[in-house]
């Protein structure tokens, strides 16, 4: 009977998986992982807690898995002073954070040579670069390991990474770049570019980096580089479009969001989509910096519904709708689908873009095509024809492909990559985070939100120039002072007379 009792307790605990979970367990407060999955032409990089894995596509459905190791400080900038390293260690200990936690990942296939570069930025402000060959098909069964070729130290934690090419002076007609750099956006609002490899011709020291642009007094949440433009989104509702690599030239701002921007994605020729903390998804034409349409994302508590509005028309949301906070968005490679995932919700929404007949930008319509049920997705990407989603345990990884009805269906048992990633997760007992937004331990709110003073109970805005009392007080004080002075003079005179 004792064993039956134990088993029944365990089973009852496992069955507690509500649809929308509102309680966030305390020990997951401080994790701020943003980009956990990234794809390039032939490879996928995923971050699972503090380990990163790269899957290089070899044959039709086969992948070779490589685990990316943390680098020790092989080449870093001038060593931190003793005091600062003690402080950092103390900070990590009190917060119980593994300082190898991954903040962002990025991967690219280099144009110049046949190599794949990936970058991983971790909580301890290190940015590690790994390089692997595209043709390495030796280890398919086992997971091989790779050490970083270069480790940079950033000033603040990076929230977004992207690889980029800088074209050469001579090659201006040829689109292919010569210099590969990794561009990192950090939580102080700055975007820096670091070299990917140490080449004798271009860089000499490891510590060299270039400051590209900065959003002052704000945190950067997302970064995208498209051809000759760079898009940066920040906590103050702005998306800045600058020229690349002439990043000192600002081309425009996409303004219109009412809360912090959580993610952006850019399609090659004209569209940019943003999702933000005001629970909307907006589509922009970045050639004119105009907002094309705005979709309010919400769903009913019992079923699903989505309110769509175009530009100025507002739609009243009925009371029982729950606003969903979108955290990631991406276009598919053709550019006709948008995928959105939300904060602590068990679904991935797919929207279809319908261009207007005449091709004008204002006639574009976006409609919800499908809502895929999936346990708490943390990151997603379109890889070739599939939609891959990184989620929490016990599934860790899911793969969806469009079937005959043009709907995405779970490829549970047909995708080898899913099986291998799941094996790794189960074998190592990896604990995935609940949410990729950072929560403030004290207030329990999302750190990106503004801590408005109005919300503090009893707060009255201080406008001292409206208090006329101060003038009266000063006048009375002067009167009193004058009286005292006259009395003193009178006393002195009396004293003189007496003498």
């Amino acid at each position: 009977y004792f064993y039956i009792y134990l088993i029944s307790i365990v089973v009852s605990i496992l069955h507690q998986l509500p649809l929308i979970e509102n309680n966030i367990s305390h020990n997951r407060y401080f994790k701020n992982m943003k980009e956990l999955i990234s794809v390039s032409k032939d490879a996928i990089i995923v971050a699972m807690n503090d380990q990163a894995y790269v899957a290089v596509a070899t044959a039709e459905d086969d992948f070779s898995l490589i685990q990316l190791l943390c680098g020790t400080s092989l080449h870093t900038k001038s060593a931190p002073t003793v005091d600062s390293s003690h402080e950092e260690k103390r900070q990590f200990e009190t917060n119980n954070i593994d300082c190898n936690q991954i903040q962002a990942v990025a991967i690219t296939s280099s144009n110049a040579n046949d190599r794949i570069y990936c970058a991983v930025s971790r909580y301890d402000k290190s940015l590690s670069i790994y390089s692997m060959s595209n043709n390495d098909t030796t280890n398919i069964k086992e997971t091989s390991e790779a050490a970083p070729i270069l480790v940079h130290k950033t000033n603040k934690r990076c929230s977004a990474l992207e690889f980029a090419n800088i074209s050469s002076d001579n090659d201006s007609s040829n689109g292919r770049g010569v210099l590969d750099v990794i561009v990192a956006a950090d939580l102080a609002g700055d975007v820096h570019a670091f070299p990917v490899e140490l080449l004798d011709t271009i860089t000499t020291k490891v510590g060299q980096k270039r400051f590209l642009l900065g959003h002052t007094a704000s945190m950067l949440t997302s970064l995208k580089i498209v051809h000759d433009k760079i898009f940066t989104a920040d906590r103050d509702e702005k998306v800045r479009v600058s020229s690349f690599p002439q990043t000192f030239e600002v081309l425009g701002y996409l303004l219109g969001n009412e809360s912090y921007v959580t993610d952006i994605d850019v399609k090659q020729d004209k569209y940019c989509v943003t999702v933000s903390g005001d629970c909307t998804m907006r589509l922009w034409d970045y050639r004119t910096y105009q907002e094309i349409l705005c979709i309010h994302l919400s769903r009913e508590l019992n079923g699903e519904s989505c309110q769509v509005s175009n530009n100025e028309q507002g739609v009243d949301e009925p009371q029982k709708n729950v606003r969903c906070l979108p955290v990631r968005v991406c276009f598919n490679p053709e550019g006709n689908l948008i995928a959105v995932i939300f904060n602590i919700m068990n679904c991935v929404d797919i929207y279809a873009i319908k261009e207007s007949k005449g091709g004008e930008v204002s006639g574009v319509q976006v409609e919800k095509m499908q809502s895929i049920q999936c346990l708490k997705p943390l990151g997603m990407a379109f890889f070739r024809d599939d939609l891959i989603v990184l989620t929490v345990e016990p599934k860790y990884f899911m793969c969806f492909r469009r079937n005959g009805d043009d709907e995405f269906a779970d490829q549970e048992h047909q995708c080898k990559l899913v099986d291998s990633v799941r094996c790794i997760g189960e074998k190592n007992g990896i604990d995935m985070p609940e949410s990729i937004l950072e929560m403030d331990g004290a207030t329990g709110k999302i750190k990106l939100e503004r801590n408005m003073k109005d919300e503090i109970e009893g707060f009255v805005e201080h406008k001292p120039w409206l208090e006329g009392k101060r003038v009266q007080r000063k006048r009375e004080k002067e009167k009193r002072r004058k009286k005292r002075r006259l009395e003193e003079l009178a006393n002195q005179e009396d004293g003189n007379v007496e003498r």
């Binding site: 070299p195 271009i202 000192f248 030239e249 303004l255 208090e467």
Partner: protein, 278 residues
């Protein structure tokens, strides 16, 4: 709180509208944290939604299609000495002073109202706005809409960890260049701290969209004289007898340097940071 409300009803605000305010009631701490995320500022979501007519009620635009927008900015205007002086010096431009401290911004607003009352017809083109220049400029101003930006005696923020709070920096220069009209727009900075002046010169020279004006060009510009002598801080510095250092930069249309793979990590390029640099 009800007690003070009753007392306020009896006394009213310190300065009535139209009366010249007295500085002693509007003194405020000199330093303010511009990087704070939790300050409550009001700003429009898009510059086209900003209505400036409440700031310039009696100003009518010469061109009925164009709205009134500010063209000259005094960033960190303090008690408003330069804003008032520029209003008569540049009667065709629309002057706006930006100040982050609430009390001081209120002082300038009352001062402008008092001036408008005392000299009818004048000072209609000057106003003040309480806002954080570092964060909210894109919300208020359109691209290439400003002709002059003044930085008079900004907070030096001596400590190295506070350097990102300086009002003239690599990041912000790109934004200022976005708002200034090419070939016409000018950036003026003046300070009495030599270290800060060197910082301004170093960063403005390294920025590919700005060109430094020669001494003759600066002498021909009447705004330089106004900036030198008309600010409150400037008068204080004159009384104490220390030097003032100034520089003026013109916004050029095309960048002076193109970034390519060869010079991306060059030591003197805009934004290149090597190990020992600050």
């Amino acid at each position: 709180m009800t007690k003070t409300d009753n007392e306020d009803e009896e006394y009213g605000p310190i300065t009535a509208e139209g009366e010249m305010p007295q500085k002693k009631f509007y003194r405020s701490r000199a330093h303010c944290n511009p990087l704070s995320h939790n300050d409550t500022f009001e700003y429009p979501s898009h510059p086209s939604k900003m209505d400036w007519s409440s700031h310039y009620p009696n100003l009518t635009s010469s061109d009925p299609l164009k709205k009134i927008v500010p063209t000259v900015l005094d960033v960190g205007c303090g008690f408003g000495g330069l804003t008032i002086a520029l209003s008569t010096l540049l009667p065709q431009q629309v002057i706006l002073g930006l100040e982050i401290r609430a009390k001081v911004a209120e002082y300038v607003r009352l001062r402008i109202v008092a001036h408008r009352k005392e000299y009818p017809g004048k000072y209609q083109n000057a106003s003040v706005l309480r806002s954080n220049t570092m964060k909210f400029m894109p919300n208020f101003f359109e691209k290439s809409s400003l002709e002059k930006i003044f930085f008079c005696f900004p907070d030096p923020h001596f400590k190295k960890k506070n350097h990102p709070r300086r009002i003239v920096s690599d990041r912000l220069l790109s934004e200022y260049a976005f708002f200034l009209k090419p070939n016409v727009g000018r950036l003026y900075c003046i300070t009495d701290v030599e270290d800060l002046h060197n910082w301004h010169v170093k960063h403005c020279r390294a920025h590919p969209l700005f060109r430094e004006l020669t001494q003759e060009e600066m002498d021909q510009d009447p705004c330089v004289k106004a900036m030198y002598s008309k600010t409150e801080e400037g008068k204080k510095v004159e009384r104490s007898g220390t030097n003032k250092y100034y520089a003026v930069y013109q916004r050029v249309a095309a960048p002076t340097v193109l970034i390519t793979a060869e010079n991306f990590f060059d030591a003197d390029g805009y934004g290149v940071i090597s190990e020992n640099d600050s």
